[in-house]
Amino acid sequence: MRLLAAEILKLRRRWASYLVLGSLIGLMALIFLLVVLTTGAAPRGAPMFLRFPASYGFINQFVFGLGSLLAVAYAAAIAGADWNWGVFRVVVARGESRARYVIVKFIAVAVFLVIGILLAYVTGIGLTYLAGALSGVSVGDPLAAGGAEDLARSLGFGALVVTERAAIGFAVAMLLRSQLAGVVTGIVLFIGEQILATVVLVTTLAGAGFGEGMQPIGPEWFQFLPFSIGDGVLAEAPTLGGGAEGFLLNPVPLGLAILVTVLYLLASMAIAALSAERAQISG
Protein backbone atom coordinates (compact mmCIF):
# COMPACT_ATOMS: atom_id res chain seq x y z
CA MET A 1 0.00 0.00 0.00
CA ARG A 2 2.86 2.40 0.77
CA LEU A 3 4.13 1.95 -2.78
CA LEU A 4 0.66 2.73 -4.18
CA ALA A 5 0.38 5.77 -1.89
CA ALA A 6 3.77 6.98 -3.16
CA GLU A 7 2.72 6.53 -6.78
CA ILE A 8 -0.50 8.44 -6.17
CA LEU A 9 1.47 11.25 -4.52
CA LYS A 10 3.68 11.46 -7.62
CA LEU A 11 0.63 11.70 -9.89
CA ARG A 12 -1.07 14.25 -7.65
CA ARG A 13 1.98 16.48 -7.88
CA ARG A 14 2.37 16.19 -11.68
CA TRP A 15 0.84 18.99 -13.67
CA ALA A 16 0.33 16.56 -16.59
CA SER A 17 -2.45 14.93 -14.55
CA TYR A 18 -4.35 18.20 -14.50
CA LEU A 19 -3.39 19.26 -18.01
CA VAL A 20 -4.85 16.08 -19.55
CA LEU A 21 -8.14 16.43 -17.68
CA GLY A 22 -8.24 20.16 -18.32
CA SER A 23 -7.72 19.64 -22.07
CA LEU A 24 -10.57 17.15 -22.25
CA ILE A 25 -12.98 19.28 -20.27
CA GLY A 26 -11.90 22.46 -22.05
CA LEU A 27 -12.56 20.99 -25.51
CA MET A 28 -15.89 19.59 -24.38
CA ALA A 29 -16.88 23.01 -22.98
CA LEU A 30 -15.85 24.63 -26.26
CA ILE A 31 -18.16 22.33 -28.24
CA PHE A 32 -21.05 23.06 -25.89
CA LEU A 33 -20.33 26.79 -26.24
CA LEU A 34 -20.44 26.52 -30.03
CA VAL A 35 -23.74 24.67 -29.76
CA VAL A 36 -25.22 27.42 -27.62
CA LEU A 37 -24.02 30.08 -30.05
CA THR A 38 -25.47 28.31 -33.09
CA THR A 39 -28.72 26.93 -31.60
CA GLY A 40 -30.72 30.07 -32.24
CA ALA A 41 -29.85 30.00 -35.92
CA ALA A 42 -30.57 26.29 -36.31
CA PRO A 43 -33.81 25.68 -38.22
CA ARG A 44 -34.88 22.78 -36.01
CA GLY A 45 -33.87 24.26 -32.64
CA ALA A 46 -31.67 22.52 -30.05
CA PRO A 47 -29.82 19.39 -31.18
CA MET A 48 -30.65 15.99 -29.75
CA PHE A 49 -27.56 15.81 -27.63
CA LEU A 50 -28.85 18.56 -25.39
CA ARG A 51 -31.47 16.07 -24.20
CA PHE A 52 -30.92 13.12 -21.88
CA PRO A 53 -30.29 10.25 -22.42
CA ALA A 54 -29.03 11.15 -25.93
CA SER A 55 -26.66 13.59 -24.30
CA TYR A 56 -24.72 10.63 -22.85
CA GLY A 57 -23.77 9.60 -26.39
CA PHE A 58 -22.14 12.96 -26.98
CA ILE A 59 -20.33 12.90 -23.64
CA ASN A 60 -19.19 9.33 -24.31
CA GLN A 61 -17.65 10.30 -27.62
CA PHE A 62 -15.60 12.94 -25.89
CA VAL A 63 -14.65 11.15 -22.70
CA PHE A 64 -13.94 7.74 -24.24
CA GLY A 65 -12.85 8.86 -27.72
CA LEU A 66 -10.60 11.86 -27.23
CA GLY A 67 -10.16 10.71 -23.63
CA SER A 68 -8.62 7.43 -24.84
CA LEU A 69 -6.07 9.27 -26.94
CA LEU A 70 -5.13 11.48 -24.01
CA ALA A 71 -5.01 8.47 -21.69
CA VAL A 72 -2.57 6.66 -23.99
CA ALA A 73 -0.29 9.71 -24.03
CA TYR A 74 -0.63 10.25 -20.28
CA ALA A 75 0.16 6.65 -19.33
CA ALA A 76 3.13 6.57 -21.72
CA ALA A 77 4.44 9.82 -20.28
CA ILE A 78 4.22 8.50 -16.72
CA ALA A 79 5.95 5.23 -17.58
CA GLY A 80 8.66 6.84 -19.73
CA ALA A 81 9.47 9.55 -17.18
CA ASP A 82 10.95 7.02 -14.77
CA TRP A 83 13.52 6.12 -17.42
CA ASN A 84 14.10 9.72 -18.53
CA TRP A 85 14.78 10.97 -15.02
CA GLY A 86 16.81 7.89 -14.07
CA VAL A 87 14.65 7.21 -11.03
CA PHE A 88 13.92 3.64 -12.07
CA ARG A 89 17.52 2.68 -11.31
CA VAL A 90 17.21 4.19 -7.83
CA VAL A 91 14.20 1.96 -7.21
CA VAL A 92 16.04 -1.10 -8.58
CA ALA A 93 19.10 -0.37 -6.44
CA ARG A 94 16.87 -0.24 -3.35
CA GLY A 95 15.90 -3.86 -3.97
CA GLU A 96 12.29 -3.19 -4.98
CA SER A 97 10.68 -5.81 -7.20
CA ARG A 98 10.70 -4.32 -10.68
CA ALA A 99 7.52 -6.10 -11.74
CA ARG A 100 5.66 -5.06 -8.60
CA TYR A 101 6.79 -1.47 -9.00
CA VAL A 102 5.61 -1.30 -12.61
CA ILE A 103 2.24 -2.88 -11.89
CA VAL A 104 1.58 -0.65 -8.88
CA LYS A 105 2.56 2.36 -10.97
CA PHE A 106 -0.03 1.41 -13.56
CA ILE A 107 -2.69 0.79 -10.91
CA ALA A 108 -2.10 4.36 -9.71
CA VAL A 109 -2.44 5.61 -13.30
CA ALA A 110 -5.68 3.64 -13.64
CA VAL A 111 -7.03 5.16 -10.41
CA PHE A 112 -6.31 8.61 -11.80
CA LEU A 113 -7.93 7.75 -15.12
CA VAL A 114 -11.11 6.57 -13.44
CA ILE A 115 -11.23 9.71 -11.31
CA GLY A 116 -10.64 11.78 -14.46
CA ILE A 117 -13.44 9.97 -16.30
CA LEU A 118 -15.85 10.63 -13.43
CA LEU A 119 -14.90 14.31 -13.25
CA ALA A 120 -15.15 14.73 -17.02
CA TYR A 121 -18.49 12.96 -17.04
CA VAL A 122 -19.93 15.06 -14.24
CA THR A 123 -18.67 18.16 -16.05
CA GLY A 124 -20.28 16.93 -19.28
CA ILE A 125 -23.63 16.55 -17.53
CA GLY A 126 -23.25 19.99 -15.98
CA LEU A 127 -22.37 21.48 -19.36
CA THR A 128 -25.47 19.87 -20.87
CA TYR A 129 -27.63 21.61 -18.26
CA LEU A 130 -25.79 24.88 -18.78
CA ALA A 131 -26.05 24.72 -22.56
CA GLY A 132 -29.71 23.78 -22.29
CA ALA A 133 -30.43 26.71 -19.99
CA LEU A 134 -28.57 29.14 -22.23
CA SER A 135 -30.34 27.80 -25.31
CA GLY A 136 -33.69 27.89 -23.58
CA VAL A 137 -34.42 24.18 -24.00
CA SER A 138 -35.26 21.56 -21.42
CA VAL A 139 -32.60 18.84 -21.20
CA GLY A 140 -34.89 16.42 -19.43
CA ASP A 141 -34.15 14.13 -16.50
CA PRO A 142 -30.73 12.45 -16.77
CA LEU A 143 -31.93 9.48 -14.72
CA ALA A 144 -35.31 8.97 -16.41
CA ALA A 145 -36.10 6.58 -19.31
CA GLY A 146 -33.19 4.24 -18.61
CA GLY A 147 -30.84 7.15 -18.04
CA ALA A 148 -29.43 5.71 -14.84
CA GLU A 149 -28.68 2.43 -16.57
CA ASP A 150 -27.09 4.24 -19.50
CA LEU A 151 -24.95 6.23 -17.12
CA ALA A 152 -23.75 3.17 -15.24
CA ARG A 153 -23.02 1.26 -18.46
CA SER A 154 -21.19 4.20 -19.97
CA LEU A 155 -18.99 4.69 -16.96
CA GLY A 156 -18.26 1.01 -16.40
CA PHE A 157 -17.51 0.03 -19.98
CA GLY A 158 -15.78 3.32 -20.74
CA ALA A 159 -13.47 3.05 -17.75
CA LEU A 160 -12.45 -0.47 -18.82
CA VAL A 161 -11.74 0.60 -22.40
CA VAL A 162 -9.80 3.74 -21.48
CA THR A 163 -7.74 1.79 -18.93
CA GLU A 164 -6.94 -0.94 -21.48
CA ARG A 165 -5.86 1.60 -24.09
CA ALA A 166 -3.75 3.44 -21.52
CA ALA A 167 -2.12 0.15 -20.56
CA ILE A 168 -0.93 -0.31 -24.14
CA GLY A 169 0.67 3.16 -24.12
CA PHE A 170 2.20 2.37 -20.74
CA ALA A 171 3.69 -0.92 -21.96
CA VAL A 172 5.09 0.71 -25.11
CA ALA A 173 6.84 3.40 -23.06
CA MET A 174 8.27 0.78 -20.70
CA LEU A 175 9.61 -1.18 -23.65
CA LEU A 176 11.09 1.88 -25.34
CA ARG A 177 12.38 3.34 -22.04
CA SER A 178 11.54 6.85 -23.14
CA GLN A 179 8.81 9.33 -22.33
CA LEU A 180 8.70 10.95 -25.76
CA ALA A 181 9.09 7.72 -27.72
CA GLY A 182 6.37 6.13 -25.59
CA VAL A 183 3.92 9.01 -26.12
CA VAL A 184 4.56 9.28 -29.87
CA THR A 185 4.50 5.54 -30.49
CA GLY A 186 1.39 5.09 -28.34
CA ILE A 187 -0.51 7.78 -30.25
CA VAL A 188 0.71 6.54 -33.63
CA LEU A 189 -0.42 3.00 -32.78
CA PHE A 190 -3.79 4.28 -31.59
CA ILE A 191 -4.47 6.41 -34.66
CA GLY A 192 -2.75 3.95 -37.01
CA GLU A 193 -5.00 1.15 -35.90
CA GLN A 194 -8.10 3.24 -36.57
CA ILE A 195 -6.83 4.05 -40.05
CA LEU A 196 -5.95 0.40 -40.70
CA ALA A 197 -9.39 -0.71 -39.54
CA THR A 198 -11.09 1.81 -41.82
CA VAL A 199 -8.97 0.80 -44.83
CA VAL A 200 -9.62 -2.89 -44.25
CA LEU A 201 -13.34 -2.20 -43.78
CA VAL A 202 -13.59 -0.30 -47.04
CA THR A 203 -11.58 -2.96 -48.87
CA THR A 204 -13.73 -5.73 -47.41
CA LEU A 205 -16.96 -3.95 -48.33
CA ALA A 206 -15.73 -3.23 -51.84
CA GLY A 207 -14.85 -6.92 -52.23
CA ALA A 208 -18.32 -7.89 -51.02
CA GLY A 209 -19.96 -5.68 -53.62
CA PHE A 210 -21.28 -2.99 -51.30
CA GLY A 211 -24.63 -1.66 -52.37
CA GLU A 212 -28.20 -1.04 -51.41
CA GLY A 213 -29.86 -3.61 -49.21
CA MET A 214 -26.58 -5.03 -47.97
CA GLN A 215 -26.59 -6.46 -44.45
CA PRO A 216 -23.91 -5.52 -41.95
CA ILE A 217 -20.90 -7.84 -42.06
CA GLY A 218 -18.64 -9.20 -39.37
CA PRO A 219 -17.44 -9.25 -36.73
CA GLU A 220 -14.19 -8.97 -38.70
CA TRP A 221 -10.66 -9.67 -37.46
CA PHE A 222 -9.67 -6.03 -37.32
CA GLN A 223 -12.39 -5.40 -34.77
CA PHE A 224 -10.29 -7.49 -32.37
CA LEU A 225 -7.19 -5.31 -32.65
CA PRO A 226 -5.98 -3.87 -29.29
CA PHE A 227 -7.49 -0.42 -29.64
CA SER A 228 -10.47 -1.36 -31.84
CA ILE A 229 -11.79 -3.99 -29.47
CA GLY A 230 -12.82 -1.18 -27.14
CA ASP A 231 -15.36 -0.07 -29.73
CA GLY A 232 -17.06 -3.45 -29.28
CA VAL A 233 -17.36 -2.80 -25.55
CA LEU A 234 -18.52 0.78 -26.05
CA ALA A 235 -21.09 -0.30 -28.64
CA GLU A 236 -23.32 -1.22 -25.68
CA ALA A 237 -23.00 2.28 -24.26
CA PRO A 238 -25.14 5.07 -25.70
CA THR A 239 -23.76 6.66 -28.86
CA LEU A 240 -24.94 9.47 -31.06
CA GLY A 241 -25.24 6.98 -33.89
CA GLY A 242 -24.28 7.79 -37.41
CA GLY A 243 -20.92 5.98 -37.31
CA ALA A 244 -20.09 3.77 -40.28
CA GLU A 245 -19.61 0.76 -38.02
CA GLY A 246 -23.21 0.95 -36.82
CA PHE A 247 -24.77 -0.14 -40.07
CA LEU A 248 -21.82 -1.63 -41.96
CA LEU A 249 -20.37 -3.84 -39.27
CA ASN A 250 -21.84 -6.10 -36.64
CA PRO A 251 -20.24 -5.32 -33.27
CA VAL A 252 -18.20 -7.93 -31.46
CA PRO A 253 -20.54 -9.63 -28.93
CA LEU A 254 -20.26 -7.74 -25.64
CA GLY A 255 -19.08 -10.66 -23.50
CA LEU A 256 -16.37 -11.53 -25.97
CA ALA A 257 -15.36 -7.89 -26.38
CA ILE A 258 -15.00 -7.48 -22.61
CA LEU A 259 -12.99 -10.70 -22.36
CA VAL A 260 -10.60 -9.70 -25.15
CA THR A 261 -10.25 -6.19 -23.69
CA VAL A 262 -9.33 -7.62 -20.30
CA LEU A 263 -6.87 -9.98 -21.96
CA TYR A 264 -5.19 -7.07 -23.75
CA LEU A 265 -5.04 -5.18 -20.48
CA LEU A 266 -3.39 -8.11 -18.71
CA ALA A 267 -1.04 -8.77 -21.63
CA SER A 268 0.06 -5.13 -21.64
CA MET A 269 0.80 -5.32 -17.93
CA ALA A 270 2.73 -8.56 -18.41
CA ILE A 271 4.82 -7.01 -21.19
CA ALA A 272 5.53 -3.89 -19.13
CA ALA A 273 6.50 -5.93 -16.07
CA LEU A 274 8.61 -8.38 -18.05
CA SER A 275 10.46 -5.67 -19.95
CA ALA A 276 11.25 -3.90 -16.67
CA GLU A 277 12.31 -7.17 -15.08
CA ARG A 278 14.71 -8.04 -17.90
CA ALA A 279 16.09 -4.54 -18.51
CA GLN A 280 19.78 -3.97 -17.97
CA ILE A 281 20.39 -0.43 -16.86
CA SER A 282 23.59 0.75 -18.42
CA GLY A 283 23.38 4.51 -18.48
Partner: protein, 332 residues
Amino acid sequence: MTEGDPGLAIATQGLVKRYGPRPAVDGLDLHVPRGMVYGFLGPNGSGKTTTLRLLVGMARPDAGSMELLGEPYTWRDRRRLFRVGSLIEQPSFYPYLSGRENLRVFGAAGPPTPRHRAEEVLGFVGLRDRAGDKVKTYSLGMKQRLGIATALLSDPELLLLDEPANGLDPGGIVAMRELLRFLTSQGKTVLVSSHILPEMEQMADVVGIIAAGRLVREGPLAGILDEGTRVRVGVPEEAVGRALEILAALSPTVESAPGGLGDQRWIAVRVANDQASEVNRALAQGGVFASGLESGSDLETAFLALTGPAGPDPQGHLGPPPGWGQPGSQAR
Protein backbone atom coordinates in the same frame (compact mmCIF):
# COMPACT_ATOMS: atom_id res chain seq x y z
CA MET B 1 32.24 -19.30 -4.95
CA THR B 2 29.96 -21.35 -2.71
CA GLU B 3 30.63 -19.94 0.73
CA GLY B 4 30.98 -16.30 1.52
CA ASP B 5 33.76 -14.73 3.53
CA PRO B 6 32.09 -13.11 6.54
CA GLY B 7 34.96 -10.65 6.86
CA LEU B 8 34.25 -9.15 3.48
CA ALA B 9 31.38 -6.85 2.63
CA ILE B 10 32.02 -7.33 -1.10
CA ALA B 11 34.01 -9.94 -2.94
CA THR B 12 34.08 -10.55 -6.65
CA GLN B 13 35.87 -13.25 -8.55
CA GLY B 14 36.65 -13.05 -12.24
CA LEU B 15 33.82 -10.58 -12.79
CA VAL B 16 33.29 -9.78 -16.46
CA LYS B 17 30.85 -7.40 -18.12
CA ARG B 18 30.98 -6.63 -21.83
CA TYR B 19 29.19 -3.97 -23.81
CA GLY B 20 29.49 -5.31 -27.34
CA PRO B 21 32.95 -6.74 -27.90
CA ARG B 22 34.56 -4.39 -25.38
CA PRO B 23 34.91 -5.62 -21.79
CA ALA B 24 33.99 -2.84 -19.39
CA VAL B 25 34.92 -5.08 -16.48
CA ASP B 26 37.46 -7.74 -17.30
CA GLY B 27 38.03 -10.42 -14.67
CA LEU B 28 37.73 -8.21 -11.61
CA ASP B 29 38.70 -9.65 -8.22
CA LEU B 30 37.62 -7.23 -5.55
CA HIS B 31 37.89 -7.66 -1.76
CA VAL B 32 36.19 -5.03 0.35
CA PRO B 33 36.65 -5.58 4.08
CA ARG B 34 33.82 -4.79 6.46
CA GLY B 35 33.72 -1.70 8.62
CA MET B 36 36.05 0.40 6.48
CA VAL B 37 36.03 3.05 3.80
CA TYR B 38 37.19 1.38 0.60
CA GLY B 39 38.43 3.77 -2.08
CA PHE B 40 37.62 2.38 -5.51
CA LEU B 41 39.90 4.33 -7.82
CA GLY B 42 40.39 4.40 -11.53
CA PRO B 43 40.53 6.71 -14.50
CA ASN B 44 37.42 7.62 -16.47
CA GLY B 45 36.04 4.60 -18.31
CA SER B 46 38.02 2.10 -16.24
CA GLY B 47 34.91 0.16 -15.17
CA LYS B 48 34.14 1.61 -11.73
CA THR B 49 30.52 2.51 -12.40
CA THR B 50 29.88 -0.71 -14.32
CA THR B 51 31.15 -2.66 -11.32
CA LEU B 52 28.76 -0.80 -9.04
CA ARG B 53 25.88 -1.44 -11.44
CA LEU B 54 26.66 -5.16 -11.29
CA LEU B 55 26.70 -5.05 -7.49
CA VAL B 56 23.18 -3.60 -7.26
CA GLY B 57 21.60 -5.73 -9.95
CA MET B 58 21.16 -3.00 -12.55
CA ALA B 59 23.23 -5.04 -14.97
CA ARG B 60 24.05 -8.73 -15.15
CA PRO B 61 27.62 -10.04 -15.36
CA ASP B 62 28.74 -12.09 -18.35
CA ALA B 63 31.05 -14.18 -16.18
CA GLY B 64 32.39 -14.39 -12.65
CA SER B 65 30.77 -14.37 -9.26
CA MET B 66 29.97 -11.92 -6.50
CA GLU B 67 29.50 -11.98 -2.75
CA LEU B 68 27.60 -9.30 -0.95
CA LEU B 69 27.64 -9.04 2.84
CA GLY B 70 29.28 -12.40 3.22
CA GLU B 71 27.01 -14.46 0.99
CA PRO B 72 27.01 -15.35 -2.69
CA TYR B 73 24.96 -12.87 -4.62
CA THR B 74 23.31 -12.72 -8.02
CA TRP B 75 21.17 -10.00 -9.55
CA ARG B 76 18.08 -12.02 -8.62
CA ASP B 77 18.79 -11.67 -4.87
CA ARG B 78 17.13 -8.29 -4.75
CA ARG B 79 16.26 -8.51 -1.06
CA ARG B 80 19.98 -8.46 -0.22
CA LEU B 81 19.91 -4.90 -1.50
CA PHE B 82 17.64 -3.99 1.41
CA ARG B 83 20.90 -3.87 3.41
CA VAL B 84 22.75 -1.82 0.79
CA GLY B 85 22.47 1.89 0.07
CA SER B 86 23.80 3.32 -3.14
CA LEU B 87 24.34 6.44 -5.16
CA ILE B 88 25.37 5.37 -8.63
CA GLU B 89 26.14 7.82 -11.44
CA GLN B 90 24.45 11.18 -11.05
CA PRO B 91 21.72 11.50 -8.42
CA SER B 92 18.24 11.02 -9.91
CA PHE B 93 15.00 12.47 -8.58
CA TYR B 94 11.52 13.55 -9.52
CA PRO B 95 12.21 17.22 -10.29
CA TYR B 96 8.67 18.36 -9.55
CA LEU B 97 8.67 16.88 -6.03
CA SER B 98 10.38 18.42 -3.02
CA GLY B 99 13.47 16.83 -1.51
CA ARG B 100 11.39 15.50 1.36
CA GLU B 101 8.74 14.07 -0.98
CA ASN B 102 11.44 12.38 -3.05
CA LEU B 103 12.74 10.67 0.07
CA ARG B 104 9.19 9.66 0.93
CA VAL B 105 8.52 8.06 -2.46
CA PHE B 106 11.90 6.31 -2.57
CA GLY B 107 11.38 5.16 1.00
CA ALA B 108 8.20 3.42 -0.15
CA ALA B 109 10.23 1.21 -2.50
CA GLY B 110 12.41 -1.62 -1.25
CA PRO B 111 12.96 -2.16 2.47
CA PRO B 112 10.41 -0.88 4.98
CA THR B 113 11.53 2.60 5.98
CA PRO B 114 10.00 4.52 8.89
CA ARG B 115 8.73 7.97 7.94
CA HIS B 116 10.90 9.76 10.49
CA ARG B 117 13.98 8.34 8.80
CA ALA B 118 13.66 10.90 6.00
CA GLU B 119 14.05 13.74 8.50
CA GLU B 120 17.05 12.00 10.07
CA VAL B 121 18.93 11.61 6.81
CA LEU B 122 18.04 15.16 5.73
CA GLY B 123 19.75 16.25 8.93
CA PHE B 124 22.80 14.06 8.19
CA VAL B 125 23.37 15.81 4.87
CA GLY B 126 22.45 19.31 6.07
CA LEU B 127 19.47 19.70 3.80
CA ARG B 128 16.63 20.09 6.26
CA ASP B 129 16.14 23.80 5.55
CA ARG B 130 15.59 23.27 1.84
CA ALA B 131 13.79 19.92 2.10
CA GLY B 132 10.44 21.48 1.23
CA ASP B 133 11.69 23.04 -2.01
CA LYS B 134 11.24 21.36 -5.38
CA VAL B 135 14.31 19.41 -6.47
CA LYS B 136 14.38 21.25 -9.80
CA THR B 137 15.47 24.33 -7.85
CA TYR B 138 18.43 22.51 -6.25
CA SER B 139 22.06 23.07 -7.19
CA LEU B 140 24.22 20.12 -8.25
CA GLY B 141 25.73 19.97 -4.78
CA MET B 142 22.31 19.89 -3.12
CA LYS B 143 21.19 17.09 -5.43
CA GLN B 144 24.35 15.23 -4.50
CA ARG B 145 23.54 15.62 -0.82
CA LEU B 146 20.01 14.42 -1.42
CA GLY B 147 21.43 11.45 -3.33
CA ILE B 148 23.54 10.53 -0.31
CA ALA B 149 20.47 10.96 1.90
CA THR B 150 18.54 8.56 -0.36
CA ALA B 151 21.35 6.03 -0.09
CA LEU B 152 21.18 6.28 3.71
CA LEU B 153 17.39 5.90 3.92
CA SER B 154 17.36 2.23 4.79
CA ASP B 155 20.18 2.56 7.35
CA PRO B 156 22.30 0.22 5.20
CA GLU B 157 25.16 -2.01 6.33
CA LEU B 158 26.96 -1.31 3.08
CA LEU B 159 27.05 1.99 1.24
CA LEU B 160 28.13 2.27 -2.40
CA LEU B 161 28.87 5.82 -3.48
CA ASP B 162 29.90 6.69 -7.01
CA GLU B 163 31.82 9.99 -7.14
CA PRO B 164 29.95 11.35 -4.10
CA ALA B 165 32.01 14.56 -3.94
CA ASN B 166 30.79 15.70 -7.38
CA GLY B 167 29.43 19.23 -7.08
CA LEU B 168 30.01 19.47 -3.33
CA ASP B 169 31.66 22.61 -2.00
CA PRO B 170 34.67 22.25 0.32
CA GLY B 171 32.45 22.41 3.39
CA GLY B 172 30.21 19.73 1.92
CA ILE B 173 33.18 17.50 1.19
CA VAL B 174 34.45 17.80 4.75
CA ALA B 175 30.95 17.09 6.09
CA MET B 176 30.63 14.05 3.83
CA ARG B 177 34.01 12.75 4.99
CA GLU B 178 32.94 13.12 8.60
CA LEU B 179 29.65 11.40 7.87
CA LEU B 180 31.39 8.44 6.25
CA ARG B 181 33.80 8.22 9.18
CA PHE B 182 30.84 8.21 11.52
CA LEU B 183 29.19 5.42 9.53
CA THR B 184 32.28 3.22 9.63
CA SER B 185 32.56 3.85 13.36
CA GLN B 186 29.10 2.26 13.56
CA GLY B 187 30.45 -0.84 11.85
CA LYS B 188 29.14 -0.02 8.39
CA THR B 189 31.15 -0.45 5.22
CA VAL B 190 31.51 2.30 2.65
CA LEU B 191 32.79 1.85 -0.88
CA VAL B 192 33.58 5.16 -2.53
CA SER B 193 34.35 5.24 -6.20
CA SER B 194 36.31 8.30 -7.21
CA HIS B 195 39.16 9.77 -9.16
CA ILE B 196 39.63 12.70 -6.78
CA LEU B 197 42.75 11.29 -5.21
CA PRO B 198 43.60 13.84 -2.50
CA GLU B 199 40.08 13.39 -1.20
CA MET B 200 40.42 9.61 -1.20
CA GLU B 201 43.75 9.87 0.54
CA GLN B 202 42.01 11.55 3.45
CA MET B 203 39.04 9.25 3.45
CA ALA B 204 39.95 5.70 2.52
CA ASP B 205 41.33 2.95 4.73
CA VAL B 206 41.77 0.51 1.88
CA VAL B 207 42.02 1.22 -1.81
CA GLY B 208 41.53 -0.76 -4.98
CA ILE B 209 42.84 0.71 -8.21
CA ILE B 210 41.17 -0.39 -11.41
CA ALA B 211 42.35 0.23 -14.95
CA ALA B 212 40.79 -1.12 -18.13
CA GLY B 213 38.35 -3.20 -16.11
CA ARG B 214 41.04 -4.98 -14.09
CA LEU B 215 42.23 -4.49 -10.56
CA VAL B 216 45.85 -3.35 -10.74
CA ARG B 217 46.41 -2.77 -7.03
CA GLU B 218 44.50 -3.39 -3.84
CA GLY B 219 45.50 -2.97 -0.23
CA PRO B 220 45.59 -0.73 2.81
CA LEU B 221 46.20 2.89 1.85
CA ALA B 222 48.96 3.20 4.43
CA GLY B 223 50.82 0.30 2.85
CA ILE B 224 50.71 1.85 -0.59
CA LEU B 225 51.91 5.19 0.72
CA ASP B 226 54.71 3.55 2.73
CA GLU B 227 56.17 1.94 -0.35
CA GLY B 228 58.41 4.96 -0.74
CA THR B 229 58.62 8.05 -2.83
CA ARG B 230 57.83 7.80 -6.49
CA VAL B 231 59.78 10.14 -8.69
CA ARG B 232 58.84 10.75 -12.31
CA VAL B 233 61.61 12.23 -14.38
CA GLY B 234 61.13 13.74 -17.82
CA VAL B 235 64.14 13.22 -20.03
CA PRO B 236 64.77 13.74 -23.76
CA GLU B 237 63.86 10.69 -25.80
CA GLU B 238 67.45 10.03 -26.89
CA ALA B 239 68.61 10.02 -23.24
CA VAL B 240 66.11 7.46 -21.97
CA GLY B 241 68.54 4.53 -22.18
CA ARG B 242 71.28 6.36 -20.35
CA ALA B 243 68.87 7.66 -17.71
CA LEU B 244 67.56 4.15 -17.05
CA GLU B 245 71.12 2.93 -16.47
CA ILE B 246 71.89 5.74 -14.03
CA LEU B 247 68.68 5.34 -12.10
CA ALA B 248 68.96 1.54 -11.95
CA ALA B 249 71.98 2.08 -9.73
CA LEU B 250 69.85 4.15 -7.40
CA SER B 251 66.78 1.97 -7.16
CA PRO B 252 65.69 -1.53 -8.17
CA THR B 253 62.31 -0.11 -9.31
CA VAL B 254 62.91 1.90 -12.45
CA GLU B 255 60.67 1.82 -15.46
CA SER B 256 59.64 3.79 -18.43
CA ALA B 257 56.43 5.45 -17.36
CA PRO B 258 53.40 6.11 -19.55
CA GLY B 259 53.02 9.58 -20.99
CA GLY B 260 55.32 12.22 -22.33
CA LEU B 261 55.03 15.31 -24.43
CA GLY B 262 56.95 16.06 -27.61
CA ASP B 263 60.47 14.62 -27.35
CA GLN B 264 60.21 14.17 -23.62
CA ARG B 265 59.71 10.74 -22.07
CA TRP B 266 58.92 9.89 -18.47
CA ILE B 267 60.78 7.48 -16.28
CA ALA B 268 59.37 6.40 -12.94
CA VAL B 269 61.63 5.43 -10.10
CA ARG B 270 60.76 4.43 -6.57
CA VAL B 271 63.27 5.44 -3.91
CA ALA B 272 63.41 5.78 -0.14
CA ASN B 273 61.74 8.91 1.14
CA ASP B 274 65.07 10.58 1.95
CA GLN B 275 66.56 9.76 -1.47
CA ALA B 276 64.22 11.79 -3.69
CA SER B 277 66.69 14.62 -4.15
CA GLU B 278 69.39 12.17 -5.19
CA VAL B 279 67.60 11.33 -8.42
CA ASN B 280 68.17 14.64 -10.16
CA ARG B 281 71.74 14.90 -8.89
CA ALA B 282 72.62 11.42 -10.15
CA LEU B 283 71.18 12.17 -13.56
CA ALA B 284 73.04 15.47 -13.85
CA GLN B 285 76.30 13.84 -12.81
CA GLY B 286 75.74 11.26 -15.50
CA GLY B 287 75.19 13.93 -18.14
CA VAL B 288 71.41 13.62 -18.41
CA PHE B 289 69.47 16.77 -17.69
CA ALA B 290 65.89 16.28 -16.67
CA SER B 291 63.35 18.51 -18.34
CA GLY B 292 60.71 17.66 -15.80
CA LEU B 293 60.63 16.14 -12.34
CA GLU B 294 57.69 15.20 -10.14
CA SER B 295 57.94 13.42 -6.87
CA GLY B 296 55.60 12.37 -4.19
CA SER B 297 54.70 9.72 -1.71
CA ASP B 298 51.02 10.41 -2.17
CA LEU B 299 48.19 8.41 -3.67
CA GLU B 300 48.17 10.47 -6.83
CA THR B 301 51.74 9.53 -7.68
CA ALA B 302 51.02 5.87 -6.99
CA PHE B 303 47.85 6.07 -9.07
CA LEU B 304 49.61 7.68 -12.02
CA ALA B 305 52.41 5.15 -11.85
CA LEU B 306 49.86 2.35 -12.03
CA THR B 307 47.40 3.74 -14.54
CA GLY B 308 49.30 6.39 -16.51
CA PRO B 309 48.39 10.06 -16.74
CA ALA B 310 46.05 9.57 -19.68
CA GLY B 311 44.46 6.39 -18.40
CA PRO B 312 44.02 3.32 -20.53
CA ASP B 313 43.04 3.69 -24.15
CA PRO B 314 39.82 2.06 -25.38
CA GLN B 315 41.73 -1.17 -26.09
CA GLY B 316 42.83 -1.28 -22.49
CA HIS B 317 46.46 -0.38 -23.08
CA LEU B 318 47.91 1.88 -20.50
CA GLY B 319 49.57 5.10 -21.53
CA PRO B 320 48.92 7.99 -23.84
CA PRO B 321 46.54 7.72 -26.79
CA PRO B 322 48.00 7.50 -30.30
CA GLY B 323 49.30 10.87 -31.41
CA TRP B 324 49.70 12.18 -27.90
CA GLY B 325 52.88 14.24 -27.74
CA GLN B 326 53.64 13.71 -31.42
CA PRO B 327 54.75 16.76 -33.40
CA GLY B 328 51.76 18.66 -34.61
CA SER B 329 49.34 17.00 -32.19
CA GLN B 330 47.42 18.88 -29.55
CA ALA B 331 47.44 17.98 -25.91
CA ARG B 332 44.00 17.20 -24.48
